[in-house]
């Protein structure tokens, strides 16, 4: 029986889809069986980021309405044998499915996969409720901007009634230089306000934009800082019962920021 993790943020454009694609790929690199589920019905993106857009035949809504079987809608990744994508429908809207249907699909996926990563749409309406329905854990993605942090706080509050462990935080698009100068919200400050455990921080990296546009998750190129950050996040997900792994091996500015924050093994 696998674990379903929803990746959510409240605010749009903070990197939920990028984070889902990269954590999923990083976990697949570790040899895990992974299913990525795009729940952003009507505005699907995960297939594009994964470079699987032209392979879609059936989608999430078709499965929910019984128009196809689950394994027919799953798209196998081009790079990994154990990485699959369940794409969202593009021609319907978020009301096309209900949380009960979603829960059923996620439970079915959990039988076959080690991790089911659910990419949540922005907002707090039906799409959010659907995405959260079957999840066991949650990752809240935010950026060092006040509006993104506010929305993350709202989302953490909305997750409370669900049977989900306390969400973990990923702070995306950090610019170490700006943070150091005090022009950007500090990692410490964000963690203090949100009051949840930090799963990882990801620096703002041009390589992410480039690889996203090519349909190749950034994590595949191990030379970039963002790739290392995502790989570390994946390792922390796997080593759930052990304390946070040392971030010392990360080189450059990032490790200096982390040392500044008191991260030690």
């Amino acid at each position: 029986m696998g674990i379903a993790i929803v990746i959510t943020s409240g605010k749009g454009g903070v990197g939920k889809t990028t984070t889902s694609a990269n954590i999923g790929t990083a976990l697949a690199l570790k040899g895990k069986r992974i299913a990525l589920v795009d729940t952003d019905i009507g505005l699907r993106n995960l297939d594009v980021v994964m470079g699987l857009e032209n392979r879609i035949i059936y989608d999430l809504v078709d499965v929910a309405h019984g128009q196809c079987r689950l394994h027919q809608a799953l798209i196998k990744d081009k790079r990994f044998d154990e990485l699959y994508l369940l794409p969202a429908a593009q021609t319907k809207d978020k009301d096309a499915i209900v949380p009960e249907q979603m829960e059923k699909i996620i439970n079915e996926l959990k039988q076959d996969f080690d991790y089911v990563l659910i990419d949540c749409p922005a907002g707090i309406e039906q799409g959010f409720k659907n995405a959260v329905a079957g999840a066991d854990r949650a990752i809240v993605v935010t950026t060092p901007e006040i509006s993104a942090v506010r929305d993350a706080d709202r989302i953490i509050g909305l997750l409370e009634p669900y049977e989900i462990d306390q969400p973990k935080l990923v702070i995306n698009r950090i610019r170490p230089k700006m943070m150091k100068q005090g022009d950007m919200l500090d990692v410490d400050e964000i963690v203090t306000i949100l009051g949840i455990d930090l799963l990882g921080i990801v620096p703002d990296d041009e390589h992410v934009i480039k690889s996203t546009n090519q349909g190749e998750p950034a994590v595949l190129n191990p030379d970039t800082k963002a790739a290392i950050a995502y790989r570390n996040i994946a390792r922390r997900i796997l080593g759930d019962s052990v304390p946070l792994i040392s971030l010392e091996e990360e080189k450059g500015v990032l490790s200096r920021v982390k040392r500044l924050l008191g991260f030690r093994s």
Partner: protein
Amino acid sequence: MAAKPAVTIKGTKDGLVFYLDDRCAFDTLLSELKEKLKDNPQFLNGPLLHVTVNLGYRYLDQQQEQEVKELIRQEGNLIVSKMESLVVTKEEMEKARQESEVKMLFKTVRSGQVIETQGHLLILGDVNPGGLVTAGGHIFVMGALRGRAHAGKSGNNDAVIAASLLCPSQLIISSTMSPIRENEEYKQQFAFIDPSGQLRFAKLYQLLELRPDLKTLYSSIDHQSLHSLAP
């Protein structure tokens, strides 16, 4: 009349007190009250007087209370300032209990969440921006108060809002709002309304000095726990 009079009027140092017998019928009471007022025309001519009505173990509903008040007002130059009764209804009791209760909350109040209580509120956690906490009485936050807080919402000017770290987006006590100050932080302080009606801040150690009534809050907690033991 050989029987005990249904209405006795006594002068005390606090003014006139009407003692109304709690054994007779309400109609008897009214007619006798009317007679008594007619027999004492000196009331009519004097200055406007405030009186207290003591009902003993009689319970009057709102309409009956109004009848007594009107009768006294019509017949004499008198205004009922207080009605005393030794009995309370369960509803009144429940309301009083709720208002003196301290609601404890062991969580962070996040953006979009609203916490409401008729009594006092004690939060062991933060109140984040976008969160709202309201109470009929005091609000104490053992954490950072960054959201909105409204204490004494039913018109209690004596209510206070205290927090380990006060940097609220908005504070209201009773109906007085704090002046908007950007990026101000108050450590170990509380907000209160001073005698001139201004919302001000003071250090926590001054709390009992400015609001000595808070001492009784502790005993009221004790009282409640006794209450909850009763069947």
